[in-house]
Symmetry: C2
Subunit: 254 residues, 2 copies
């Protein structure tokens, strides 16, 4: 996770009004909230430590902890033992339906979708991949690893599998536009639909945690999905890893 330390000083100790009927912890919470709303710290940014706030506000550490607790209770910040406190980030709602499209999902929530191709390799389809795509084991498939982002914030790592040679033109398209939908169109698949999605969760690898800008202790949401073309032929078998702290899967009735 990208952690930002702002240099501007937030609310000064002078702001605290002892004996005015408003608890110190409440004043401190309000001051921190004001700075968050004012943009001193952006979503995801790490807040100063308890010790720092203790010094700044000139109060006991437990008083600061009481203030932080109230902010966390309101969903404004996130406190993690051993790591620090962070400004809460918006949780993205990610609907999974028959016509799931990454860019559309992101645009619908007024965010800018971006994609970055992490790697393209050709592998032999085995096990679940072959089964899902209806291929004989050993047949070649194009494996595309893609990082999906919303407003520059990593959201999902998608590992796609496309049968070859049908989709051999994919790499050329992806080189110009990191959109799976556009690349599929370039290969003659102008429309496709979700056949099935399976959702589970697991802990991320170090690389996945780094790519998704999340703590290694934060689980991933995994979605295993099959997409088919208009004729019902499987075109894509995808394994997606979502940053669980930042994405919430919404499964609607189909």
């Amino acid at each position: 996770m990208v952690e930002v330390f702002m240099t501007e000083t937030p609310a000064a100790p002078a702001m605290l009004d002892r004996g005015r009927g408003i608890a110190l912890w409440h004043q401190i919470a309000s001051a921190i909230e004001r700075d968050i709303i004012r943009g001193h710290w952006t979503p995801g940014a790490r807040l100063p430590t308890e010790a720092t706030f203790t010094e700044r506000f000139g109060v006991n550490r437990h008083t600061v902890r009481r203030a932080m607790e109230s902010l966390e209770q309101r969903g404004m910040i996130r406190v993690e033992q051993g790591r620090g406190s962070f400004v809460a980030e918006d949780v993205l709602e990610y609907p999974l339906g028959s016509r799931t499209r990454f860019s559309e999902n992101i645009l619908r929530q007024k965010k800018e979708p971006q994609g970055r191709i992490l790697g393209i390799t050709t592998i032999a389809a085995e096990g679940a991949i072959a089964a899902a795509l209806g291929l004989r084991r050993g047949r070649p498939v194009l494996r595309v690893e893609r990082l999906g982002m919303a407003n520059g914030t990593p959201i999902v790592i998608g590992t796609h599998h496309f049968p070859l040679p049908r989709f051999e033109a994919m790499p050329a398209s992806l080189a110009q536009n990191a959109s799976i939908t556009v690349a599929l169109a370039a290969c003659g698949v102008r429309d496709y639909q979700r056949v099935r999605t399976r959702i589970t969760a697991r802990m991320p690898t170090a690389d996945e945690a780094t790519l998704l800008h999340q703590a290694r202790i934060r689980p991933l949401i995994l979605a295993e999905a099959i997409n088919a073309d208009a004729e019902g032929r499987p075109v894509d078998f995808t394994l997606s890893c979502y940053a669980s702290g930042r994405v919430q899967i919404v499964v609607e009735g189909e």
Copy 2:
């Protein structure tokens, strides 16, 4: 409010497992929760004091306070400075619509409606009463004060005003059945509808607080309503006081 002190002892200090990785405050909160769920304390009952729990569990008062705070956060209990902690009570949803009927509202939420007539007097209609009922000032009206309950718990004090002599048979009916709807039917009004409802809030008098089993610091929700018969003639002008901690008015579009 009726406050009940159970004689049975809840979770004993022996239940606490120090050094087992589960925080003491969490164990205490779970023990209290278990006793609430088990029925040791009924909704509305006052819980033992912080000092009592401190003794029972053999821990510091702040540890107990941390446990109580977590229970309050989950809506399981209600903590009031200077008074004590109470088991939270279900909040009754009370819809106000064109066909508001006390008994139907209560039954719809699977509770047993009860009524108790507090008093019946004849007064001269003045001010708002005369205006609302379309009467000349000074005309006699029957004033009926009624306590509405759900499962024996007081919900509302309703002060009804019925024009005389049209409703002179009301007392006889109410003597047998404390139902306003039944009494109106006995006087020939088989159906009626809400004309208008005005909602506001105020602090209760000592008597009202006692009747509604609530603290004097807890405000009342007031509803001022006019009901009319099928011909549109006003039949009832009602002032209702609802226990705000136990009732939530739901106003639907008409």
